[in-house]
């Protein structure tokens, strides 16, 4: 599809009122039992949580059926007992953004790659692997991106200790607080 024939009419660049309820309803109807939780956060924002096994299914549905063409961001979170991979998927037609949280067990940090759906995931998944050590299965080139090639650790993990005390001691901490 070249730029000349792109359906620019489809991109009205105006938010659609009530779109979040609609998307929410569709997602719940489709993935009723597979959603860990789902809620409407604020206008134009829907958040859902799933298990990593359903990721591709949900993402494919979002992209193909609901026209969420734009993958904004992939975040990996270390919750000490499990990982989360958070996908912010957005829709250029109505301004809606869906936050998909996929739960990953701590001892097996693997999840399917969404690069086949959105190429935008390429760098974000590389970054998440680089900094958090989550393996994205099926990623074409899962290499270090921000850190040097021979770096040994995944620094955003919580067990990668940051020398907090030497850098910054809050007054509260001096008093013996948290």
């Amino acid at each position: 599809m070249s730029a000349a024939t792109a359906p620019t009419a489809g991109y009205a660049n105006r938010p659609v009122a009530g779109i979040e309820e609609e998307i929410y309803a569709q997602l719940v109807a489709r993935f009723k039992d597979r959603l860990a939780w789902a809620r409407v956060v604020r206008p134009r924002v829907v958040a859902i949580a799933i298990d990593r096994a359903h990721l591709i299914e949900v993402c494919t549905y979002l992209k193909e059926a609901l026209a969420f063409e734009h993958l904004s961001c992939i975040t990996a979170i270390d919750w000490k007992d499990h990982f989360e991979s958070v996908y912010h998927v957005s829709n250029w037609h109505n301004g809606c953004i869906v936050q998909v949280t996929a739960r990953i067990p701590y001892d097996d940090p693997r999840i399917a790659s969404v690069v086949p759906l959105w190429h935008a995931a390429d760098y974000h998944e590389r970054e998440a692997w680089d900094l958090m050590g989550i393996v994205y299965d099926g990623h074409p080139k899962l290499e270090r991106i921000l850190l040097p090639k021979d770096f040994q650790f995944h620094p955003l993990r919580k067990d990668f200790a940051q020398e907090v005390d030497r850098q910054y001691i809050s007054r509260r901490k001096l008093k013996g607080g948290k």
Binding site: A3, T75, I77, W118
Partner: protein, 363 residues
């Protein structure tokens, strides 16, 4: 002639920062390209985990030194949403004004660097001359020329000085007059058109797929502007026209140039409107709580595209996890598509037009 890899970077006049564009050339034609980034990685996301919410604003300023306020703002917006802090109306308007001033300054910096990329050093000096006007305004507003530390969670740091709107009006009037000179220097120069038209093409479908956002996406003919599509602050009340390439042959360096260039005018219009519509007095900041739990994210139309901050709090006074989504980081993934098939000299014409800022890209 054999194909070989040419390193354009990490220290190269083209890069405007510290990164490496490896291009494989066959004679002069690029057959492959591979960006190498991370030279400026400072571990922002990790550092921010040990600093209190309010103190991270200083850090986010330094994500991109040409566009500090927009980055601090999106962080404050995300944290504010996580904490559930409402920004007073005047604070929102002041944020809009500061954002647009910063956008103009950032775009002028881009224009300034795009000139020498094409061998037009005069463009650099001219654009920097006009950038001073906006830096002065930002300085009046925040006290600093760089790393302004102006937005706050729940508002802005301080009110604007007296007569600030009049000063803005005067500077903008002067600036809009000067824009005609730029048009002579850039748009009406045959050689400039020869260098930019038709190079670095990306289709709209590809651009969406690779996560290209902002002016680069609008240059493909897509009417997508987060100030409109996902309004934040008071952008809903502002009447402005997102700059979209309307021609038939979009997605090239020239389209990106035109979209960005026209945004200068549009942003000036927004600033003027903001002064008309904002309440003359009132609170500009609400106090934010120290601690927060939950998650929040905000996405804004940064000068370079969609900026997104995702903040997770665990009840402490520091974020548990911060994720920065830099528009340049995503655009960088698409640069091999932009570059392939063009000439070696076009690398600068293309990468200059996508406006790379290494600080935010490497985080």
């Amino acid at each position: 002639m054999p194909e070989f890899w040419v390193n354009m970077g990490p220290q190269h006049p083209m890069t405007h920062g510290l990164w490496n564009m490896r291009v494989k050339v066959d004679g002069e034609t690029i057959t492959d390209a591979e960006p190498e980034i991370g030279y400026l990685h400072r571990g922002y996301e990790k550092i921010m985990e040990v600093r209190e919410f309010e103190k991270n604003v200083v850090l986010t300023d330094r994500l991109c030194y040409v566009s500090s306020i927009t980055w601090s703002h999106v962080y404050c917006l995300a944290v504010g949403r996580m904490m559930g802090v409402e920004v007073p109306e005047r604070g929102q308007w002041l944020r809009v004004v500061s954002l647009e001033l910063q956008r103009v300054a950032s775009h002028l910096m881009w224009l300034a660097s795009y000139g020498p990329d094409l061998g037009l050093l005069t463009g650099l000096l001219w654009a920097l001359r006009e950038r001073e006007l906006f830096l002065d305004l930002i300085q009046l507003m925040s006290g600093m020329r760089m790393n302004q530390n102006y937005p706050r969670i729940g508002g802005v740091r301080n009110d604007v000085p007296e007569n600030f709107d009049a000063m803005c009006r005067r500077s903008i009037e002067h600036f809009l007059g000067k824009l005609k000179g730029y048009e002579k220097l850039f748009h009406e120069s045959k050689i400039f058109l020869m260098r930019t038209q038709g190079v670095g093409k990306i289709s709209a479908a590809n651009a969406i797929d690779w996560g290209v956002t902002g002016p680069n996406l609008r240059a493909c003919g897509l009417n997508v502007d987060l100030r409109r599509l996902d309004p934040y602050e008071t952008y809903e009340e502002v009447d402005f026209e997102p700059q979209v390439w309307r021609g038939a042959d979009g997605g090239d360096s020239y389209a990106r140039f035109v979209c960005r260039f026209n945004e200068l005018r549009e942003s000036c219009g927004i600033i003027l409107q903001a002064f008309e519509k904002m309440p003359k007095t009132g609170a500009y900041r609400t106090k934010a709580p120290r601690r927060a739990e939950g998650e929040g994210f905000a996405r804004t139309e940064d000068s370079r595209g969609e900026a997104l901050f995702y903040v997770v709090g665990d009840g402490d006074d520091r974020p548990y996890r911060v994720k920065i989504r830099s528009p340049v980081f995503s655009t960088m993934a698409a640069t091999p598509i932009l570059l392939r098939g063009n000439k070696l000299a076009d690398v600068v014409a293309i990468l200059g037009s996508v406006d790379v800022c290494v600080g935010e890209m490497d985080k």
